[in-house]
Subunit: 123 residues, 2 copies
């Protein structure tokens, strides 16, 4: 499901460039990271994200190595969500090693209480 | 929060005309109808709905009388969600009484299990 925290993140990311490609997490990643089943499956999440006006394309992440996705998209800017565990410096280094000159930006959170897990608990 | 059931409804509604105006329920209506607090408040819901590509405008319903909203928008088509309690014939009659020549369409549900209340229970 899409909530206002996602919209905040997407608006911030869109403001960093011209074309916004959103990489949607795989079901396998969600199971591993969140220790629960996804509410919607990965194809439904791509379709939800694609329905947002500010999103130019939504794609599923390549399973296994995040750098395969980087090579596929060749972005100028990588915007990480505030709660993503990836390291800014490592992504910049690995991008350069693949001939992609990119900047990594860490987005802030509008409000740490705006998370699906918290919103679900409140209802 | 926006889920795939909402997207289905919005796509169907959009296909019935050129400009899609979504009337977002008031907090007071949600409290009364669903017997719970809204997950996001009414202004946040307007902003969420406005972020969808297919939505041309999202407005809050006029409190009290749904026909005040009808007079404000003057639609050619009114698309009702599959679970809205309003009567098609009454809306057509009240529209005509106000000089608005409209057709009322009842949208179907993609899948009755795709409702926020059901999705929340599943997590």
């Amino acid at each position: 499901m899409i909530h206002r925290g996602h919209l905040h993140t997407i608006s911030k990311a869109k403001s960093l460039g011209d074309v916004l490609v959103v990489v949607v997490a795989r079901d396998s990643t969600i199971r591993q990271r969140k220790k629960r089943e996804p509410i919607s499956d990965e194809n439904q999440r791509v379709s939800l994200i694609s329905s947002l006006r500010q999103v130019d394309a939504a794609i599923l992440g390549v399973e296994g190595d995040i750098y395969d996705t980087l090579e596929r998209v060749k972005p100028n800017v990588v915007a990480l969500g505030y709660d993503q565990h990836h390291m800014e410096s490592e992504i910049e280094r690995e991008g350069r090693a693949r001939g992609i000159n990119l900047t990594v930006v860490r987005l802030d959170s509008p409000d740490p209480s705006v998370k699906t897990s918290v919103l679900l608990k409140d209802t």
